[in-house]
């Protein structure tokens, strides 16, 4: 008779999950600034298209 084995997927530890929630709260509260490199890259793209100065 075939047996079914449930594949165990990786999970985050409880400690890391708490730290992730703390980090997420800081992001949402605006305590962690948006990624400057990505915004700068986007601004350069818009400049190439003549959309911003």
């Amino acid at each position: 008779m075939a047996t079914l084995t449930k594949e165990k997927k990786p999970t985050l530890s409880a400690d890391k999950l708490i730290l992730l929630h703390e980090f997420a709260k800081k992001v949402i509260a605006g305590e962690i600034q948006p990624s400057k490199d990505k915004v700068q890259q986007a601004r350069q793209n818009l400049q190439k298209a003549g959309l911003v100065e």
Binding site: A24, Q33, P34, S35, A42, N45, L51, V52
Partner: protein, 157 residues
Amino acid sequence: MVGNTYSFLNQGYSQESDTLAFIFLSQGEEEVMPKLIEYSPINRQGERYYNLALMDLVFDSIEGTYRKDDLAQTNNGDIRKVLYTVVSTIENFFELHPAATVHIAGSDEQRIRVYRMLIRRHWKDIEPIYYVKGFINGLLEDFKENKSYEFSLISKK
């Protein structure tokens, strides 16, 4: 409009930084990778543009905290589900900023291809609601399915 998505661990808007953020866990076979979707302002004057960024959140064992990783974007074997999750947030963004334009640039060829595939597959749902433009060869044009754009701009009709 979109397929199977991840649910969000946290999501919210910061008035101070004018940033809309969503955090979810990308579930791979080998690891779980927390990811951040971030809409942040590009300019503060005139027509408003926001950048849509997707990045990994990595654990810094020295600091004992998470941090954004601007460069790494782990491919956990779930790219479609991840990108569907990203697309699912666009509506939330435009509820907040209906007159704004969103800048999207895939970080690598695979993501650009998947973004294009998503737009193509859902074009009949997208077209009545959004303007989609693509930048190619120094020109901005209406989105065409078969072209690979340097970046795309999405705004609400």
